[in-house]
């Protein structure tokens, strides 16, 4: 069993706490527990905050559990080990006409990480979260248990583990239902919109005919153009269309942020021009597009280590959702607060979630509007702004995404997740995380 110390273990590089890691070497072996330490499964470290950290305890690394187990190219049912990444899955199944049913904005997360955070994607309004496409998984618990969990078998543990932040046990492997994909491309439009009302009109009119929708918002423009941005909508392209329009998957330049700069490159000086520039780069109101799946789903993956641009203090991601009944008012209040603060991110992501229910007890999405941004850690004023945003979200009956959080209060978490008490019963006594100790109060 390999033990090591790692730093910068979460994607936001905040909190900057060194971690002790033990890598598993085989899915057939039992849980490697020693003494009375607490443990937490650790995949690719793509969670932003402390939900993937266990300071003072041990992380159980899944990187070596990266084997495929079975794939049926006729039905699209795939079984693979916990630590396999979405990137590897896509490389393997897309040439045979299949794609992930749901993917977040990076392909470098692991399969088990996707389950533990019940990730969502730009097609949430059509197909729900990743958890809705899991057929089964195997879970190791500290009592020596090795259980198969599915909607029919150990169904309560299945529901607790989906979105369960790795606290219910260690997933060794999982079986998922993939989605047919006629090509490696998406076709649709990029539409420039001038304010929030225009956004909601576009979201509503696009939700029926487009499987994928997402918007980039210039979160520093105010007044009548509060919430202006670009609305992207797309479907997987037919192979005929790709042939006709000459789609190319050619890899872009291998870009990377090679080291952590001494200060954040995203700051008060650069933020407003970057946002405005991005908004203005598309002048036409509607542009027809053909994207490769990398360009559409994973634009940030094109720059390795992009998280380093925020400098040595790291950054905070913030993603909230507000319920559909009050989404307009709540979104307006959120954008106003951010614009007033002058802080905010290079590109905020805004999207409407649909009504498809997730099996997960602690699943984040609900029908409504979701906003995601990142902030360089700039001391108290950043935390104060996020507290004000929390208040708006809680007031609206919404919630904050645990996978991206490093600072919400226990009260905010409890307010957002009504099934927390039900979930708590499934936390394995030997499993814990920084996030769990901070907001779940064992």
């Amino acid at each position: 069993m390999a033990e090591s110390e790692i730093t910068h273990a979460s994607w936001g590089m905040y909190p900057p706490e060194p971690q002790h890691m033990r890598k598993l070497t085989s899915r057939h072996a039992g849980l490697p527990l020693t003494g009375d330490e607490t443990v937490l499964p650790y995949g690719a470290g793509r969670s932003y905050g402390d939900s993937c950290l266990n300071t003072g305890g041990t992380l159980l690394g899944s990187a070596a559990l990266d084997h495929f187990i079975a794939f049926d190219a006729a039905t699209g049912v795939l079984t693979a080990e916990a630590g396999i990444t979405f990137a590897t899955i896509i490389d393997t199944v897309l040439p045979r006409g299949w794609f992930l049913p749901v993917t977040p904005g990076t392909k470098y997360l692991t399969l088990a990480g996707a389950i533990a955070n019940d990730v969502h994607g730009k097609n949430h309004h059509r197909v729900g979260t990743f958890g809705a496409h899991i057929l089964s998984f195997e879970l190791l618990t500290s009592d020596g248990g090795r259980r198969t969990c599915s909607p029919d078998e150990n169904a309560d543990l299945f529901a607790a583990t989906i979105g369960g932040l790795g606290l219910t046990g260690f997933i060794t492997h999982a079986t998922i239902q993939l989605m047919p994909a006629a090509s490696a491309f998406l076709d649709g439009q990029s539409i420039r919109f001038g304010n929030l009302d225009e956004f909601f009109a576009l979201a509503e009119s696009s939700s029926v005919n487009y499987d994928y929708t997402v918007s980039w918002i210039d979160c520093l423009s105010g007044g009548t153009s509060l919430g202006r941005g670009h609305f992207l909508r797309a479907n997987i392209a037919s192979s005929d269309l790709v042939a006709a329009r000459g789609g190319k998957t050619g890899a872009g330049l291998p870009l990377s942020v090679p080291f952590v700069p001494p200060v954040s490159l995203v700051n008060r000086l650069t933020l407003r021009p970057l946002n405005a520039l991005y908004y203005q780069r598309q002048q036409a109101s509607v542009v027809e597009k053909l994207w490769s799946y990398d360009q559409f789903h994973y634009p940030l993956d094109a720059i390795a280590h992009w998280n380093r641009i925020y400098g040595p203090k790291g950054f905070l991601q913030y993603q909230c959702v507000v319920p559909v009944a009050v989404q307009r008012e709540a979104a307006h209040a959120l954008f106003l607060e951010i614009e007033k603060s002058g802080q905010g991110s290079f590109l905020a992501v805004f999207k409407t979630f649909g009504a498809v229910k997730s099996p997960g007890l602690l699943s984040f999405p609900m029908e409504g509007a979701t906003l995601a941004l990142d902030f360089p850690v700039a001391g108290e004023r950043t935390f104060a702004l996020l507290d004000r945003l929390d208040a708006i979200v809680v007031e609206a009956g919404g919630r904050i995404y645990a996978a991206k959080d490093a600072r919400m209060s226990a009260a905010t978490f409890r307010a957002g997740y009504a099934r927390l008490d039900e979930f708590r019963k499934f936390i394995d006594p030997r499993f814990s995380s920084g996030f769990e100790r901070r907001v779940m109060g064992k």
Partner: protein, 244 residues
């Protein structure tokens, strides 16, 4: 379609190379000790695109069984396009108890066994008139360093044997490639502290597969900057090497 045999198939570098070969639809015989790990790799390679995968469970330090094993490989695959010899151990020289016994074991696993496999596979390649023999050596074989010269000595043997074979068959369709990786993050080096010079197993595996695709013969350092590092190390005065 390439027909490939891999000795020590569940080593991290061999596994990474096998995955790249599988993508192109290769057929495999995987040889290793651990039946479960072999089964896992077989299933993995099939999903990744391998045309067929078989495994052979063998303790490669039992050198008397190696000629029969190689014959079995040839009979099963028909033609062997690529033979990758990847087994080996890295002992911690500092904690050795019985130096003589452990050195004998180490020589058997890291030097005698791969050498015999090289000789046997080369014999088969001569009957075929072609074939690509790839042997995993190490930069550690280029210089005797205080911390790991036992391991280095076994790799030096493979390097010299392979280089000689490559030169002997230069210009023919029989290629022999000696791969000398630098520091690689694998199960074998799990206890080491990693720095900027470390490569991943998939980097090295990928380099092997592309070298085979190009028909390379001779000695290959990977990642490539190790050629420069080792040029310096080979020529460094011993008072410096003493500290390495």
């Amino acid at each position: 379609m390439q027909r490939i045999v891999i000795f020590g198939a569940t080593s991290d570098i061999a596994e990474a190379a096998a995955r790249d070969f599988a993508k192109a639809g290769a057929s495999f015989i995987l040889v290793g000790r651990n039946p479960r790990a072999l089964d896992d790799l077989c299933a993995d390679l099939k999903v990744r695109g391998a045309a067929s995968v078989e495994s052979r469970i063998a303790d490669l330090s039992h050198v008397a069984s190696l000629p029969a094993l190689c014959n079995d490989v040839q009979n099963t695959l028909g033609i062997v396009d690529v033979a990758l010899i990847a087994h080996g151990v890295l002992p911690d020289q500092q904690v050795t108890n019985d130096l003589c016994m452990e050195t004998l074991d180490l020589l058997q696993v890291n030097a005698v066994s791969p050498s015999l496999l090289m000789i046997e596979m080369l014999r088969i390649f001569k009957t075929q008139g072609r074939g690509h023999l790839v042997v995993l050596s190490s930069v550690a074989g280029d210089r005797g360093r205080p911390s790991n010269y036992f391991y280095g000595a076994t790799k030096a043997l493979l390097s010299v044997l392979g280089e000689g074979m490559a030169l002997q068959h230069a210009g023919s369709d029989i290629k022999i490639l000696v791969v000398k990786p630098g520091f690689v993050d694998t199960k074998m080096t799990a206890a080491f502290k990693k720095g900027a010079l470390w490569a991943s197993a998939s980097d090295v595996g990928g380099a092997i597969v592309s070298a085979v695709a190009k028909g390379r013969s001779g000695v290959m350092y990977t990642p490539r900057f190790w050629a420069l590092i080792m040029l310096i190390v080979r020529n460094a005065p011993s008072f410096i090497v003493r500290r390495m």
